[in-house]
């Protein structure tokens, strides 16, 4: 008898706890929202993907015939997978945009973005990504479809982060790995172009070479300044992706206590770092 009497009271208590939780959630998750916003806006990756794709076009004129032939073959490989490089990023950006919306009170319609994701990664060996990355992409697409299509009903930051963390981390890891390949490819490009001048300029010692040597030196200085700026961009892009990954990991670890002082301070510091990285990337646009 008494237990039947208690049940509705227990229900009421649960509901009030849930509602209370929701009410405070939308006010106090500002740091989560800022972090998600900054993560969604992170630059560098897309631009460096394109630069990687276009490596051959920049190198072509400098290469001796044998090296040029290999460069041309590699060009075909890079172009074949370029589209897939962008898919991983699209999924991560949409995830962060959705997370930002869940952490705030504004409502936007994200449904049209889902179509974009639908025809994403080609799941075969030709693909730019490993099988686990393709799986992560599919998992992420499914999660986002569920969250966005349901109009965020019954979804909270906590469940989104819990369900999304593993796939998100895998996608970020793929982006980090690819960015590392972009940087290493750029390093060989830089050393190719600068290296030719380093060897040839000292050989040109005849008086009639003077004009040629002057032009070569000017070209060398310009190129070396250009690559110095680019080196910084690769570094910033890698830093940014690492920050996003670490920040989300912190979120995942502190799910039970997202309103705690400590996690809010940590997230705030990531937000500042990500802002600084963005500023650095836009200071020297390529």
């Amino acid at each position: 008898m008494t237990s039947r009497h208690r049940l509705p009271a227990l229900f009421a208590l649960c509901i009030s706890v849930l509602l209370g939780g929701c009410a405070t959630t939308s006010i106090s998750l500002q740091e989560v929202r800022d972090f998600a916003d900054q993560s969604a806006k992170l630059g560098g990756y897309a631009e460096l993907s394109t630069r990687f794709r276009d490596t051959y076009a920049r190198e072509q004129l400098y290469l001796p015939p044998a090296a040029e032939r290999i460069g041309k073959e590699t060009d075909v490989k890079r172009r074949a997978v370029y589209d897939d490089f962008g898919s991983a990023q699209k999924a991560v950006v949409l995830y962060m945009q959705t997370l930002s919306l869940l952490a705030g009170d504004a409502r936007y319609d994200l449904t049209d973005k889902l179509d974009d994701l639908g025809n994403g990664i080609k799941a075969n060996v030709e693909s730019g990504l490993e099988q686990k990355h393709v799986l992560a992409y599919t998992g992420m697409t499914r999660l986002l479809t569920r969250v966005i299509a349901s109009g965020y009903q019954g979804r909270s930051v906590e469940t989104m982060v819990r369900d999304g963390d593993r796939d998100l981390q895998t996608l970020l890891e793929a982006m980090l790995t690819l960015t590392r390949f972009y940087a290493k490819t750029n390093e060989n490009e830089k050393k190719t172009i600068l290296g030719i001048f380093e060897v040839e300029i000292p050989f040109a010692t005849r008086p009639q070479d003077r004009m040629l040597v002057t032009l070569a030196k000017v070209h060398y200085l310009n190129k070396s300044a250009e690559y110095k700026i680019l080196d910084k961009r690769y570094e910033l892009a890698l830093q940014g992706l690492t920050k996003v990954s670490l920040g989300h990991q912190k979120l995942r670890e502190n799910l039970a206590n997202l309103r705690g002082e400590e996690i809010r301070n940590i997230l705030a510091s990531y937000v500042r770092d990500l802002q600084a990285i963005r500023t650095g990337l836009s200071a020297n646009p390529n």
Binding site: E73, K191, G195, V199
Partner: protein, 175 residues
């Protein structure tokens, strides 16, 4: 009954062989990346070696024969860089390529080659060693074990031969 067991055994053997091939092969993204890194390091060493030779002239004229050697090595350096970048693209596309030799071995040999390029006294000796590296880089791109093994042998014999030429201790620097 026993036929089923036999089939199972064979399937297991095939699976083991596959795993074995993977362990010994250049089959994963980090392994492809590691070889590309190593080829880039060798290219760096070739470049440093050529530059050292040029600087030894202190801005004075460099003989035609020496210029020709330096240019040939520069071409080889650029070729190695293209091979390395081609492997980075492979790693990005995760095209599986198989090296018939344990990965560790390939890494050790190319690391030894890079070290030799740095230390060899005669520029001419560098040329031979770089030839072996280029064969390896080319063979790795095809994924065929036989040319890869041949290229590895070539590098090994060059690394050994050069070692024989080198003095036991570094000589005192000539004034």
């Amino acid at each position: 009954m026993s036929k089923g067991i036999e089939e199972n055994t064979q399937r297991n053997a095939e699976r083991n062989a596959e795993q074995h091939a993977e362990q010994n092969g250049l089959a994963t993204v980090p392994q492809i990346e590691a070889l590309a890194d190593q080829l880039s390091v060798c290219a760096d060493q070739i470049h440093a070696r050529v530059m050292k030779n040029i600087k030894a002239h202190n801005g004075g004229p460099v003989g035609d024969a020496e210029q020709a050697t330096a240019r040939a090595l520069l071409d080889d350096e650029l070729l190695l860089r293209q091979r390395a970048n081609s492997l980075y693209a492979d790693a990005a596309t995760y095209v599986v390529k198989t090296l018939g030799k344990p990965q560790q071995h390939v890494m050790e040999l190319t690391a030894a080659a890079a070290e030799k390029i740095r230390r060899i006294a005669m520029l001419g000796d560098v040329v031979g060693l770089v030839g072996g590296l280029l064969s390896l880089a080319g063979a790795a791109a095809t994924g065929q074990p036989v040319p890869i093994l041949a290229a590895l042998d070539k590098i090994r014999s060059h690394v050994k031969a050069v070692q024989a030429d080198m003095p036991k201790k570094a000589p005192a620097k000539p004034a």
